[in-house]
Each structure stands twice: as C-alpha cells, then as structure tokens.
C-alpha cells in the first residue's frame, strides 16, 4: 500500500501521470483500432448472425462500468478512512466516466436484446441491477453537487459509493441467481471461455482499449481537478 500513498502525493501524481498519459492514450487507440478491425473481420455467428459484433462494444462497456464503480468505492474508503484528499478526488473523477460507460452498456445491450430476445428491455436481475448502477452513479454525482461544503459533500458521496458497492456482486451473480434471458458468464469461467477464439480476440482487444481509455480519461480528469485546486488556492492567496 505504501507505494500507493507515494503515488498519491499530488505533486508525485502529476509527474507520474504526465509521463504515463501519452503511452496510455496510444495504447488505447491501438487496441481500439485492432479490436475494430478484428471485430468487423469476424464471420457472423451461427446463431446470432452479425449481431454478435454488438458484443465487442457491449461487454467492454459493461466491464468498465463495474470496474469504475469498484475503483470509486475503493477510493471512497481510502478517502473516508485515511482522509486522503487525492483519494476523494479520484472517486469524484471516476463517477461521470462510469456513468457514461454504464449508459453505453445499457443502450448497446438494448440494441442486442431486440433482435435476439425480441425485446428492448426485460425487468430481470441483470438488467435491473445494471440500471441501478446507473442511478447510483447519478446519485453520487448529484449528492456531491448538493453540498456547498466540499468536505461534507465528499463524505456523504463516499458513504453512498461504499453502500452502493453491494450492487456489484448482485450484477455479477444475477445471471446465476435468477431466471434471465441474459447469457451467463462466458469469458472468465471454469473450463475456459465459452466463445470461439475468432470472437474472443476482438473482444479482448476492445476490452483492453476501453480499459486504457478509461484510465487515460480518469488521469486527465484528476489532473484537471488538481490544477483547478491549485488555481483556486493561488487566487485566494492573491485576494488576501
């Protein structure tokens, strides 16, 4: 953990993230290009036809949506327990990104559900808990904005983020617990992935691309917030 706190020093964070950013952004672009080329190069699936390609944008968006929430909840715990200002900032910067990825997971899922299930939406465990994830993100953002006092806003939002984390295992296991049209876990399962390699590769590249893109944007947003805070401090000092 100690290296994390080293990285979490704002000055050190600015140095390290500044050096890392160009590499992360390049990796994101390359992985996304590879994923798109491979994704549109695959043959249609024998059951799902060409709609299988929706998987390459749906699954990574849903993964990042959940990962971002997990990171936001972890950062909230560190922010709450250690009173580390950068941890709170990290949580706040992850929220809007997570909300966008969640919305994308819902919309692309809907576009996949209509031709394959015959319905844009069903109120089953997976879809409902995933919709709740979007509301948790939006609630978090709204709660942060509802307080004038930044410390109180951070504390209230952190508690919401941590309590809301109970939704993550519900999303994950919803396809086992309840009857659903949504397919079960097909990548990280016992006995290896249940999908053909020809579909697995584009999915992995798109997932990598989405992951790199998320971290690029997260770092950029955190840098922005640090710069803004620095500017505010300087203005206050100047006003005195």
């Amino acid at each position: 953990m100690s290296f994390l706190f080293e990285f979490a020093n704002p000055k050190r964070f600015m140095e390290l993230s500044g050096a890392l950013l160009p590499w992360l952004a390049t990796a994101a672009a390359l992985a996304l290009i590879a994923g798109l080329v491979l994704g549109f190069g695959t043959p249609p699936d024998y059951q799902q036809g060409d709609t299988v390609r929706i998987m390459f944008v749906h699954v990574p968006a849903a993964w990042i949506a959940m990962m971002a929430y997990g990171l936001m909840a972890l950062a909230s715990i560190v922010g709450l327990v250690n009173r580390h200002p950068l941890a709170d900032l990290a949580a706040a910067c992850a929220a809007p990104l997570g909300a966008v990825f969640t919305a994308l997971g819902l919309v692309t899922g809907s576009l996949w559900g209509k031709p394959m299930w015959g319905a844009w939406w069903v109120w089953d465990g997976r879809l409902t808990s995933f919709l709740l994830l979007l509301f948790l993100y939006l609630g978090y953002i709204a709660l942060r904005g509802a307080f004038d006092d930044e410390t109180r806003a951070a504390r209230a939002a952190a508690i919401l983020a941590i309590v809301g984390a109970v939704n993550l295992p519900i999303i994950e296991f919803s396809v086992q617990w309840w009857t659903t049209l949504h397919q079960g876990e097909s990548i990280l399962r016992k006995g290896g992935p249940a999908i053909a390699p020809v579909f697995l590769w584009p999915l992995l590249f798109m997932a990598l691309g989405y992951t790199f893109l998320f971290f690029t944007l997260w770092m950029l947003r955190m840098r922005t917030a640090i710069l803004d805070r620095r500017a505010r401090t300087l203005m206050l000092r100047g006003a005195q």
């Binding site: 390609r53 209509k114 944007l217 947003r221 500017a231």
Partner: protein
C-alpha cells in the same frame, strides 16, 4: 462494402450500437481534454510558477 452496411440484415442494430458508442466516447474525450486545457490556461493566466 455492402456486407458492412448490410450486417446480415442486422445493420439497424449493429451499426447504431457502434455509432452511439463511438459518439459517446468521442464526446467524453473532447469534454475531458477541453476541461484539462482550460484548467492549464487558467493556471497560466494567474501566473503560477
């Protein structure tokens, strides 16, 4: 090319899924970069070291 725009009869679902994803992520990049540049410019205007 007609394969790409046809998508085996599912073009109405596959292409919007990609278009919406690309649009939303591009918007996110533009918004994030814009805020970053603005923050940098603001700090420079104040005359930060």
């Amino acid at each position: 090319m007609s394969d790409f725009f046809g998508q085996g009869g599912y073009a109405g679902y596959v292409l919007p899924a990609y278009a919406i994803s690309a649009f939303a992520l591009a918007l996110l990049v533009v918004w994030t970069l814009g805020a970053y540049r603005k923050a940098k410019a603001r700090l420079k205007n104040i005359g930060a070291p």
